[in-house]
Assembly symmetry: C2
DNA sequence: GGCATGCTCAACCAGTTGGTTGATTAACTA
DNA sequence: TAGTTAATCAACCAACTGGTTGAGCATGCC
């Protein structure tokens, strides 16, 4: 199991430590030691977290002498967001009842009600 | 662990069966049996998956006679998307170098280059 | 070469996850 | 009352997770 990319990405993001690492990497590349510094856990534990992020495709790792700099690769995040966006109408009033994203781009309809019970 | 909402939501979405259930519920409320039908696993397994989704706040459950209809509640998805959106500039060219979402709303600048190395 | 630094690998452990089967509760039906 | 249907609870299991410690490898510096 866990073979599909989307599952790996969501699983990788399901840990606060790993999300913090992603947030840190948004400020630029960092070494494993730099990434580990803020956390009350061993370097090896961080190394494992990085491996999870790497397998999810969220980071890439270089080689500079004895350092293994990590940098963010948010491509998989786009896919994850796209999956979630399909359900935007369930949290965003503008999408209600229109049933399409394109419609919303042309015309914002701030009506509400009928937030549930869309047949099926 | 797993106390924070965001972690619960991502963890809930990290399973293909649960994502399929969410997709199904986008077409309307459904009973446990209806949700279980397409999957090659026991009703009890689906019941467990529903409990995970419920604890993540992604579904709510009613009571109608002996049925427990499930319906989608995508509120937590909005939070998850908002978290991910913070890294949009790493996958969306328009956000490059501008460093802000507001800027992008006023003016689209389709320039590119400098996709990495944004200091720290 | 010898040694410190940066990091990974390997083994281990407790807790969680995702599935199973069997029993049980709750509500309707006859 | 008995029986059917819908769903959960409980116990069990194998596999995975997230952490640990200790050993080992790769690189740069003296």
């Amino acid at each position: 199991m866990m073979t599909d990319q989307l599952s790996s990405v969501f699983a990788a993001l399901a840990d606060p430590t790993r999300r913090a690492i992603v947030a840190r990497l948004a400020d630029g590349a960092a070494t494993v030691n730099e990434l580990a510094a803020p956390f009350p856990m061993s370097l090896q534990a961080i190394s494992k977290h990085l491996k999870v992020l790497e397998r999810a495709g969220l980071i890439t790792r270089g080689r500079e002498a004895q350092w293994r700099p990590c940098r963010l690769d948010a491509g998989p995040l786009r896919d994850a967001v796209e999956w979630m966006e399909r359900y935007r109408r369930f949290w965003d009033e503008r999408y209600d009842r229109l049933g399409g994203y394109l419609r919303e781009l042309q015309e914002q309809t701030p009506r509400k009600e009928q937030n549930n019970e869309q047949a099926g």
